[in-house]
Amino acid sequence: MSTLPPEPVEVDPPSPRSRRDAVVITPHVDAFGVGMRDGAAFFARFFAEAVRPPFHIRELIRQCYEVGYRSLPLITVTGFITGIVFTKQSRPSLAAFGATSWLPSLITIALVRSLAPLVTALICAGKVGSSIGAELGSMKVTEQIEAMEVSAINPFKYLVVTRTLATTLMVPLLALYFSFVGLVGAYMNIHGQEAASLASFLKSGFSTITFLDVWSSMSKAIAYGFTIGLIASYKGFRATSGTQGVGRAANASVVLAMFVIFIEEVLIVQIVTFLRDL
């Protein structure tokens, strides 16, 4: 039987990562700190990987199809109903002041400025975010992500960058579409009540919309789309503990994405209000 030769062992120094992992203050503080550190690293890595070739265009298009096209039915129904319900519920308040003629303006402002990006983002956080979290979580716990790595394929670039870019591109387009179907719903309601023409509805509605409104709406939708894709990918990539972990990743993707979206909503509204007052 051979034994290994007792030659002097030349070893590499301990890895920086293992030194970092060894630092524990308390379990909760440590877990929070590690989560923040890993989240920040994940965020920074996205930008580093997104600008570096190769670019997986085919996968990006496939993800755009999954995120955008497959969300259309839900966005159509939700946007249309939002338009109708918002119009119906706003009418009595405006009628009390004899201001029903302001209804198109009110609906358009509400939809374009706030409802379209926010509701679209919340729908996508639920539908797309959970899907990405569960898919990547499942790939993680079944070692499919590691299989990519050992095949010399960068899973971050192939899975995270494509999905995050897809949500960043598609959520603004879906928000625009939401505004459109919402206005269709609103017009149908107004037309049913007052026989208003489409031209007068559009003229009245868009007379109060400025470039800043459209710009802020699209900025919000882009930020929300990026948030949904990145958070869902992050949660999926960090899934552990088998199927239970996959469920947790999907759930956490939705909850955290919605939480961050609301924070972003507040911040962006503050910035836009400041710009409007200039």
Partner: protein
Amino acid sequence: MSAAPPAPPAPPAPPASPSQAATDAPVISIRGLEKAFGELEVLCGVDLDVSPAENVVVLGRSGSGKSVLIKIVVGLLQPDRGQVVVLGQRVHQLSRKDLDALRRRVGFSFQSSALYDSMNVFQNLEFPLMMNIQGLSSAEVKERIEAALEEVGLADTMQQMPSELSGGQRKRIGIARTLILRPEIMLYDEPTAGLDPVTSGEINDLILKVQEDYGTSSIIITHDLTCARNTGGRVAMLVDGRIYRVGAFDEVFGTEDPQVRGFYNYNFTTRGQP
């Protein structure tokens, strides 16, 4: 219960003669490897060499760090201390680009097979090929995929989804997916785990066939002694985070050392004859 162990047949001869292998530089050289997860020390100074065209089986109990060892070898995990040299390169000092270049030369067969479950068998094999080799025509891609599937005896499963395959078929497709890049080294993580004896035997034969046809060096992680005896030129026993014994199968198990005998007796007497 300690029944006399049956005399195991001699392990198959590796393609390269021992003297030839001894003169060649090892394709994998592991020195002083340490890895801990929190307080749990998994590897505590592992030393192991793998020569060209040699199969080395790493045996050990579940949770002894066998899978961690080969994940460190391929750069999936970072060691706390120690040095891993694969094909002349220090794995953990490589840039991402160089590590990817090295990984193209190393195949890794996962315990769970790790097939991409959203892709069919053809796409599972096509994916690493298209991502790593530019300029292949679709005819060349198809030809290489067919050759890899024929190598593992599953040429007729091309359009099937992973969920439609048996455990043994999934293992074979997993091996075919690594062969598509024509690796110089194969790392098998529990290749026979969860398989019936007949299918395990087929996987063992496949491991030897891959070594013969591709001239690969391999590390085979297992706790299955039948797999170890039939596939390994050398056997290394991992106990308490260290390589406890290393040598030919008969040499390692021809001892009364209770650590070794206990492992042997459990496999060959508790579970029946291999």
